[in-house]
Symmetry: C2
Subunit: 308 residues, 2 copies
Amino acid sequence: MHRLEAEQVQHLETFRLIEAIARAGSIRKAAEDSNITASALNRRLGRFEHEFGSQIFERLPRGVRLNPAGELVLQHYRAQRSDLARVKSQVADLAGVRRGHVTIACSQALLPFFLPEQIAAYRNVHPGVTFAVNVRDREQAEAELVSFRSDLALVFEPRVLVDFEVLHAIPQPVCALFARDHPLAGRSELRLRDCLDHPHIAPAQKYGVRGLLDMAAKRVGRSVTPVVETESFELIRYYVRQERAVGFQIPIGLSSELDTDMVFRPISDRDMPPGNLLLGQMRGRVLSVATSRFADQVALALVKMSDA
Amino acid sequence: MHRLEAEQVQHLETFRLIEAIARAGSIRKAAEDSNITASALNRRLGRFEHEFGSQIFERLPRGVRLNPAGELVLQHYRAQRSDLARVKSQVADLAGVRRGHVTIACSQALLPFFLPEQIAAYRNVHPGVTFAVNVRDREQAEAELVSFRSDLALVFEPRVLVDFEVLHAIPQPVCALFARDHPLAGRSELRLRDCLDHPHIAPAQKYGVRGLLDMAAKRVGRSVTPVVETESFELIRYYVRQERAVGFQIPIGLSSELDTDMVFRPISDRDMPPGNLLLGQMRGRVLSVATSRFADQVALALVKMSDA
DNA sequence: CCAGGCGGTGCATTCAATGCACCGTATCGG
DNA sequence: CCGATACGGTGCATTGAATGCACCGCCTGG
């Protein structure tokens, strides 16, 4: 999450080591990873547990594992680290430095066009701000927020919304895409049944686009029977140019100007209501200056897009 | 805020010293207070500022003062301390220990009957939980929450509500109180003008009861002209027994059973709408187990009271 | 103008944290 | 059944980061 591991503050060292133990599953492994001896690490843990007032690891025959108290402690540490980063960001901001780091968990649809444009635009104004982009499905994205591994999430049709605070939402109809010379290219209005009657390539169950497709198909007594099912929307984009198949994606992941040899059309909203693309953060969290400004910019861009 | 100063965790030591410096206004004074030498403290501060990346104190000829960055750092520290206390409380809770500490900032009206009853009832079930009660006017109470000096606030008609998250609210009409043999004691309905026509003792401007009185008086072209103005509602309760004056208080601060030689009646809501007694916490904060359970109990008691 | 209080610094000291070696134990593979 | 292995935990010598002490230069208030 952070640019340089070494920049970590010293007073959180113990917590970082605890996190290393939890990750490694054993004190010895974690000690190796952290370039200290197992003895030193063992004692650090012992001291911490003593002053904290209770054990935070179960001792197993083959190692250690976090107990419920340890989970709480680790969550506390992550919140603390995140809040310290926020303070640093605000301090840098009031010194006029405009530094910072933004971590985003997002759906694949944002990768080809939207996010690169947005990040480049932001960095053009604030070159001191760095970014990390994690591609995650909608469930993973929320987990990323809760564990402070990501500051923002930009996902399509997230399922659970506990701890997900929506900063902005825009509707996105599911689109069918196909080669320029596909029979469907001539249709004025695109119905779901037309797509299902042709060979089609669809994303895996865990994605929002597929969820909407399945639900809509069920409503008209059909089902989605893809000739290719994939986790990669990039594969979908390229596959429709090979076989004359129908693919699916939301508009923000498509560009009529840059993908000239294929076309896309929204599926009629008589068959499928549009889904929602949501920009969100962890509920109640205070974002760093850089992050919240970037979120503002993204929200603005989403508004402009849905106006156009 | 905490029971024993010594229980503080070691990794927040530097922050605590920084807080001591900010409080003392000079490194040397803070060093004395903390029982270390000024040299050691100076070096600790220097190290922290170095690794933090910027100064957090202005150096003045006669001492030091927090700069804006320092304010942020201190706020961060207080949030961390509070969150760590929450974690400890939750850990104790899942170990079945039922320990904890609850800090409340409240209006004077809660002192004579309501809070003692509530705290005693809670401690009867959970003897391991300790309490701290800070009497504060409505503005101070919110400041207490923001700086993490209090976990809960129970105040009448708080003015500003930024950062004040309302957990529960019940309406409380302003009541007039007077000696049992006062001329007004016979009235079936009590009008504001009746009270103002008699000598009256009123709380100071900063209190919600007075605010409502002033507003209501203004509406009927009158003004509140107390023969005694005070910051103490306790004085009001006792004064109405001496001179045959009219006092004011909300019902939760009065008891017809325990104060037998005086009576109180709500002022007609044709003259004055009831104000609100609010139970609240700092917006977005996660309370400790003990605190949130106590808040639940208080909310329940408030509901019962307004039903009765 | 000087006495006192301030932040800052060089130097010797100390003690908490570390590394090393080793113990007892549980697991796994042959 | 029994070594080989990996684990957490502990006594002991060592080290280096944090401290205390003495002192500097500075500013202010009387």
